[in-house]
Subunit: 151 residues, 2 copies
């Protein structure tokens, strides 16, 4: 569970790269997730995937986004997040194949007080999943509503 929040809107380390750790998705995880949430053939079946643009089974984009988000949320558990406002566009550059390790970094890019609610503000964080060879596999992000430091 999250610790007592320590970082308020004013405390966010804008522009600093945060290391969120890494993930790898097993074949079984990829197939189970896709069967429920993104049943495209190239996420479900090796033979169908071999005939696809990918050539092998690959993880669903929303699965990749979720896996990276899970790491990012753990990394920023010391921030006084009130709730999430939106998921930014997620873009995919390198397919995520089973059991391949991906490292996730994130960076707060914006933090501004709310014009109407003095106790809160709006903060954007942008994340990147890096393939093992250093290529960017995915970019994603979240806009959060974050508490301001109590007066």
């Amino acid at each position: 569970m999250r610790p007592t929040p320590r970082l308020y809107l004013e405390d966010l380390p804008l522009g600093e790269d945060l290391d969120c750790g890494g993930f790898a998705l097993s074949r079984a995880e990829i197939v189970a997730f896709a069967a429920q949430y993104d049943p495209q053939p190239w996420h479900l079946d090796d033979t169908l995937a071999a005939a696809s643009a990918f050539g092998t089974l690959v993880a669903s984009g929303v699965h990749t986004q979720a896996a990276a988000l899970g790491l990012m949320v753990r990394r920023i558990a010391d921030v006084a997040v009130m709730f999430g406002g939106s998921l930014h566009e997620a873009r995919f550059f390198v397919p995520v194949r089973p059991d391949t390790r991906h490292r996730v970094t994130a960076r707060w890019t914006e933090a501004r007080p709310s014009a109407s609610k003095p106790a809160q503000g709006i903060a954007r964080i942008e994340g990147t999943a890096h393939a093992e060879d250093g290529r960017v596999a995915m970019t994603f992000g979240v806009t959060y509503i974050v508490a301001r430091r109590p007066a």
Copy 2:
């Protein structure tokens, strides 16, 4: 598994509302998804959620997006999708509480041939999850690469 594709880029029914069916997320599903992919307290624990901005346990945004996407992907299984290019920004307007029914609609908004690859094109589909009272709970979308009709 998907049937033989019937709808190519040129066949997409631009602007037509597609009924994708409905979903409801149980408390157990919400907690299990969030524990892995979005461990915020208001997705995990009733007591912590009661003290949050939501007042009760609510589904993770990425879980809501995934549930709606799963329905949309099934609805468009007759389209010659080659692969997904991006997930559009997902915006959240009404919290998704356990066991509440949401209806999903989707609409192809754009379909244009690729400038460089004559056999394919780029198509955008925008989806909406509607709460039971008719309010828009979430908007989301996907950009897909879709095969053009064989000459």
